[in-house]
Symmetry: C2
Subunit: 165 residues, 2 copies
Amino acid sequence: MKESGRKQGAPSPCAACKLLRRRCAQDCVFAPYFPADDPQKFANVHKVFGASNVNKMLQELPVDQRGDAVSSMVYEANARVRDPVYGCVGAISSLQQQIDVLQTQLALAQAEVVHLRVRQTASMPNHGVGPGSPSSSGSPSSRLMGSQFRPTFDMDTACETHQMY
Amino acid sequence: MKESGRKQGAPSPCAACKLLRRRCAQDCVFAPYFPADDPQKFANVHKVFGASNVNKMLQELPVDQRGDAVSSMVYEANARVRDPVYGCVGAISSLQQQIDVLQTQLALAQAEVVHLRVRQTASMPNHGVGPGSPSSSGSPSSRLMGSQFRPTFDMDTACETHQMY
């Protein structure tokens, strides 16, 4: 079982304070998220963001959001250590490519559904209903067909256009 | 037209050195990527990663990879300023959700293609060829159908499992 933080009465510093060689205060902002038994978790975050920045970022957040913020920073830091050039932006680019491939596959499959329906209607003995209505009460995929969305990210321009200021 | 860096003979500090209030040396590691006329670009990177960490990360990379590294850091920093809790991990999560939706839509559309083909074959006068062979020389989508891939990211566990050490 993991120990989170320090034992009462026997102050053992959290991983952050241990690395920074400082006293781990009772209200240490790092202690709840960086237990002493997982030193690498803080080491990467410190290497990429710096303890001072992480401290500031956590202090600016309500306590109930700090756990998620630490998780996302740990994820980013590990990605940057693994890939110093692209970090987790490499993951975004890869996911974007997967979306592009899936959208192409989906468009082709949907076009084929339409093609097969039209052909099927034309081959029916009473096909006077016209190509606009075949199976329109339809299958689950026909109900989803209208909901194709555009991805919200374009990595070709993301680094230039996704700036806040 | 954008100025990149400093004019020869008229040393104007880059955005990084200006913010850090230091002399911008001829071989400043920041100058090629943080021109004086875009101070916010460096401000966010400094706020999130810290100038010292960025300096170190750039120094550890070959010169021809530093531009990409700066772009990805700027992207991450802007995302973190915009969303202090999730940063660009929020983007990864959103893209992953889009992939899940697209995979569901694709599976449904492909199932419908198969269903329509079988029905079409059954309604043909000479349908002795069996359901295994209809249109198998096929359309573009049928060639792509076998290439469905699993996403490489699972954000439910990413923050716990994508650690390097």
